[in-house]
């Protein structure tokens, strides 16, 4: 084997270890003696991925022909960021869940799905061919179902059903889109996509396929119930990392900077904008913390969708939008996961939440709202700059749309804080681990964008004087509005949640499924032929008897004679 060959093999091994380690660990969970050890080592599952993200040289590509339909793995700049982000979020989530599920009877199952979803998440980031991406995407999506439904109560089952339905729709949409893409590119590698002209249908399919994960507007239904039902560490991973897979999918399959597609851009921007507004509104109606965060995610992802849509306009816009998009994604992921970890902490500690902790949770919350000096401020500044740089149709966004969303998000976040303050956990299980995780995540929210070289430029912009003010007033306004709204909406404090939050779509699905499934098994019909024969039998018997009479014999004898005579003569 040549040196180059050895190197390739080595890279292949390392890259596949990133996704393979969690998978192997999941497999090891099947084996009873290894269970305890695997659970103990859970956080280590993310280590290879993190190592790859941090240490791999730039632009490693490996081709493994035999794998699936021709596998290509590699890590590029985007991938590295996503991988690092995912690794971090999963690492925290695994610490948290390890401590949460010490005594759960279904924990093995949970960890199996947890690890599988993790593997899918890492794998899709590393995949460099369409089917590989699709494969890991599907793996992650379906494994996440196991996380959503873990609690097995009615809400969880309903949420799971909805999630699964949308995932299936996304899968088939993606499948179709992939077929169309492969048909037009002729190759399976992601790099072949560059320069392809998209059929409008393909665009829609891709929007749907990844939009399900992103929670784009008509496909957002699963997000709030799922966030609420999923065990919180897993929800953190879901919101902090898995959701990004949709964004990454768009980046991979509609690479900004390499394509231009104005029609698609309009689709994305419109849907994103609507989602940004809708998410907040629907979030405010929720009375459970997870659901509120779900609403926030819908809204934030809507913003990201808008950025992405802007990047689709032409190649130049794409080149500019991509970094902003990534920046925003990193910000949102960290903040959202941090919120979840905080929520987790509140749940676990119950009434013993300290003021410091309450203040701490305001950090990611306000970061989301875009409070100056937070990562949110940096991301929003980048967004504004992008909008301004793109010229006329977009610059309006920065003046009205962004402050409005910031204000709305502030309200929503305050609502969230109000909701979780009431949460009372059962005891103190693993609160240490939870606390550590939360602290770590808070640090990440606070620090990442400041120390990230790529973001440093924007970061410095964001703290420039005017920007500070521009960032501050929506937040302040939001706070005010929140107080007003709270007085109006719940003059007596938050009502206790008991009614089932059920969307009408969900009921419809339930009803159709139930209608079809509970139909009685059709009785096998008695064989018509045999019945008919049975009815014929007496007649047949009579006929045969008649044919046996001498008279008939004589007649037929004569008839035969005559017939033959005539026919032969």
């Amino acid at each position: 084997m040549t040196l180059a060959g050895l190197q390739t093999t080595l890279y292949a091994l390392i890259l596949s270890l990133a996704a393979g380690t969690p998978l192997l660990m999941a497999a090891a969970l099947c084996c009873t003696p290894l269970k305890a050890m695997v659970i103990r080592l859970l956080p280590w599952a993310t280590v290879p991925a993190l190592l790859v993200a941090l240490t791999a040289p730039a632009n490693v590509h490996v081709e493994v022909d035999w794998f699936f339909m021709g596998g290509r793995m590699g890590i590029d700049a985007t991938g590295r960021i996503f991988l690092a982000l995912a690794g971090f979020v999963w690492l925290l989530a695994s610490f948290s869940s390890r401590s949460l599920f010490k005594n759960d009877q279904n924990r093995v199952r949970f960890f199996m799905f947890f690890l599988t979803a993790m593997a899918g998440n890492f794998g899709l980031i590393l995949a460099q061919d369409m089917l590989g991406y699709y494969l890991f995407f599907a793996m992650m999506s379906f494994a996440a179902y196991g996380l959503v439904i873990h609690k097995e109560n009615e809400d969880a089952i309903r949420a799971g059903r909805l999630y699964l339905l949308l995932v299936m729709i996304g899968e088939v949409a993606l499948f179709t889109a992939l077929i169309v893409l492969v048909h037009s590119t002729g190759g399976l590698a992601l790099k072949d996509i560059a320069g392809v002209s998209y059929h409008p249908l393909t665009l829609v399919l891709l929007f749907v396929g990844f939009g399900v994960k992103v929670g784009a507007l008509p496909l957002h239904g699963w997000m709030m119930p799922a966030y609420q039902s999923t065990p919180i560490p897993a929800a953190a991973a879901l919101a902090g990392s898995m959701v990004n897979a949709g964004i990454l999918g768009w980046l991979r399959f509609l690479p900004p900077g390499q394509i231009s597609c104005p029609r698609g851009a309009i689709l994305f921007v419109v849907m994103g904008g609507l989602a940004a507004a809708y998410g907040v509104i629907v979030g405010l109606t929720q009375k459970q913390a997870g659901a509120v965060l779900g609403g926030s995610s819908i809204s934030q992802m809507g913003l990201i969708t808008v950025i992405f849509g802007m990047g689709l306009f032409d190649q130049e816009a794409g080149l500019r939008a991509a970094p902003v998009l990534i920046l925003y994604v990193v910000h949102h992921s960290l903040a959202k996961s941090s919120l979840f970890f905080g929520y987790d902490l509140f749940i676990r500690q119950g009434k013993t939440v300290s003021r410091l902790q309450l203040a701490a949770i305001l950090l990611p919350a306000m970061a989301l709202a875009g409070l100056p000096f937070s990562s949110g401020a940096i991301a929003k500044t980048a967004f504004k700059e992008l909008a301004l740089s793109l010229g006329e149709p977009w610059s309006g966004l920065s003046t009205f749309f962004l402050p409005a969303t910031a204000m709305a998000t502030t309200i929503l976040m305050l609502h969230f804080v109000a909701v979780i303050r009431r949460c009372g956990g059962s005891g103190k299980t693993g609160s240490t681990a939870s606390r550590t995780v939360f602290v770590l995540s808070c640090i990440a929210v606070a620090g990442t964008l400041w120390i990230w070289p790529a973001a440093r430029n924007v970061a410095t912009h964001s703290v420039a004087g005017v920007k500070l003010l521009q960032g501050l007033w929506p937040v302040a306004g939001g706070c005010l509005l929140f107080l007003v709204w709270r007085r109006i909406a719940w003059p007596t404090g938050l009502p206790v949640e008991d009614e089932k939050s059920k969307t009408s779509f969900d009921t419809l699905v339930c009803r159709v499924t139930g209608f079809l499934q509970e139909k009685e098994e059709q009785k096998p019909q008695e064989d018509r032929l045999v019945l008919y024969l049975h009815r014929l039998v007496p007649n047949l018997r009579r006929a045969e008897k008649i044919m046996g009479r001498w008279k008939v014999v004589g007649l037929s004898y004569i008839t035969l004679c005559l017939c033959l005579l005539f026919l032969l003569l």
Binding site: C30, D65, W66, F67, F68, M69, G70, G71, R109, L131, Y134, L135, A138, M139, F142, G146, I149, E152, I157, G160, R161, L164, M168, I169, E171, V172, A173, F175, T176, I179, V180, V182, H183, T513, L516, Q517, E518, K519, E521, Q522, P524, D527, L529, V530
Partner: protein, 498 residues
């Protein structure tokens, strides 16, 4: 007689002789019987693999036995037959193991295994048939060999199922016979290796040839369970689980689908069919079957019935792919689905059999929480079911992928719609089962729990589904490798130069 011919004969005899010996064995000698069975199937697998290697390197395997002028028996090993033969012989081994475990202690086992061996002999015969007459010969024999298996339980219900099976199968056989004779009357005797008759006949006998094509498809469509000829299949699920596995995955339905492939590729040939313009008809029937089967499957609460309707639906992918015979990718999809569907469906039936045999579970509504009791079985079931839906990296995805690509290459957008709708329907009827099994809560005791032991069920019952599920997974994961069903199918399709 050269070595190639000897090999062909040995392949047939490797299950025929054990079968005959098993018939003569007394009921009690189950150890000897098992050994015979396993030896036979192992020998068969190795012989088939040997033949595959030979075919790959271009050896000719051919036996001709002339009967009357224009009618001869012809056994011929070509890549396509190797595909089917390998599938059948491998699955036969697993099914045999499974059946040994399944039927432990039930009556009439000698007969059962005797017919079992005959059945696989005949299936291999179908695979190796080199012309329509030979195909017909084994096709009819297949009905005969499977009939005793279908009614093995000997109850009134199984008798009724058997009767319907016979009526369907023999009617189909009769139509097929007429079509074969007619075709021969029109174009003269023809081997499969000719890959289609001369297009000049189309000018002179176009409509007749189209009619014959329809008749031929009806003939094999009965076994391939094309709607409306599928009626026997759901009823036949009263048979023991190994038999269902055999019917759905190894022999009968597969033989029908294989027949469609043969007719389209080797009897008519892509070119002629395009000229005749009958392919849309096949496509329409296949589409309808796919959708109809899925919808019907959705309505069933009986697990095996649901699986049976799922077979109805799934096998038609093959017909669908063959209806776009001018597209090599679609043909690849169809051919590879022949193998893939077999693997997945046999896993499902094994698992269903395990549930029924171990816990007495027959209905989906009884399956709540069963995965806790039988995790491995249900894991295998899940993999196969996900494969049926077409989730990567299972083999089911590979077939669908190629079908879709082929359809698109031929400009058939509707095919994508069909695939999407059917995938959704598949998900709709499989995922609830999985959810119920994995996340449902057990309600009350199992209907008839019969086995309590170290593993969740007997090893002989557990092994085969796990192995096939692994194959489903692995064959998908390494689809692009040098040795995989897909690679072999590509090799086949290369030979046709479509």
């Amino acid at each position: 007689m050269n070595s190639g011919q000897l090999l062909l004969i040995a392949i047939l005899l490797s299950s025929f002789i054990p079968g005959i010996i098993i018939f003569c064995l007394p009921e009690e000698k189950h150890r000897l019987r098992t050994i015979l069975n396993l030896c036979g199937s192992l020998v068969k697998i190795s012989l088939v693999l040997l033949m595959n290697a030979g075919i790959y390197y271009g050896h000719v395997f051919e036996i001709r036995i002339p009967l009357i002028p224009g009618v001869e028996l012809l056994l011929n090993g070509d890549p396509l037959s190797a595909l089917f033969a390998t599938l059948s012989s491998v699955l036969w081994l697993l099914t045999t193991i499974y059946a040994v475990g399944y039927l432990e202690g039930s009556p009439n086992r000698s007969h059962f295994f005797g017919y079992f061996s005959l059945c696989v002999t005949v299936t291999i015969g179908i695979a190796l048939a080199g012309n329509l007459v030979t195909f017909l010969l084994f096709y009819e024999m297949l009905t005969l060999a499977t009939y005793p298996l279908v009614i093995h339980r000997g109850t009134e219900k199984s008798l009724r199922a058997g009767r319907n099976y016979l009526i369907y199968a023999f009617s189909g056989g009769a139509v097929f016979l007429v079509a074969v004779v007619w075709l021969q009357a029109v174009v003269g005797p023809m081997d499969f290796s000719a890959a289609g008759f001369s297009p000049s006949y189309i000018e002179s006998h176009g409509s007749v040839l189209a009619l014959i094509f329809v008749l031929l498809i009806i003939g094999v469509g009965v076994k391939a369970a094309l709607v409306p000829l599928h009626g026997w299949l759901p009823q036949a699920m009263v048979a023991p689980a190994p038999v269902s596995a055999l019917l759905h995955a190894v022999a009968v339905v597969k033989a029908g689908a294989f027949g469609i492939i043969r007719i389209v590729l080797d009897v008519y040939g892509a070119h002629n069919l395009l000229l005749l313009g009958v392919l849309p008809l096949l496509a329409a029937v296949a589409t309808f079957t796919i959708l109809y089967g899925s919808v019907r499957a959705l309505q069933q609460d009986d697990l095996k019935r649901r699986l049976a309707f799922s077979t109805v639906s799934q096998v038609s992918y093959i017909a669908l792919g063959m209806s776009m015979v001018d597209q090599p990718l679609a043909v690849i999809g169809a051919l590879v689905h022949l193998v893939h569907q077999g693997l997945m469906k046999i896993t499902l039936f094994f698992c269903a059999g395990n549930l029924a045999e171990t816990l007495g579970i027959h209905r989906i509504s009884e399956m709540r929480g069963v995965a806790r009791r039988m995790p491995l079985t249900m894991a295998a079931f899940s993999i196969a079911a996900l494969g049926m839906i077409g989730i990567p990296p299972t083999v089911g995805f590979v077939s669908k992928w190629y079908l879709g690509l082929g359809g698109l290459a031929g400009g058939n957008w509707w095919l994508l719609v069909v695939l999407v709708v059917s995938s959704l329907l598949n998900a709709w009827y499989f995922l609830p089962i999985l959810i119920r099994a994995w996340f449902g809560k057990q309600q009350g005791p199992w209907p008839e729990e019969q086995y309590v032991g170290r593993f969740e069920t007997r090893l002989m019952l557990l092994g085969p589904p796990v192995i096939t599920a692994l194959i489903v997974l692995v064959a998908g994961l390494v689809a692009n490798a040098q040795i995989s069903p897909l690679a072999w199918v590509r090799f086949i399709v290369r030979g046709y130069s479509l």
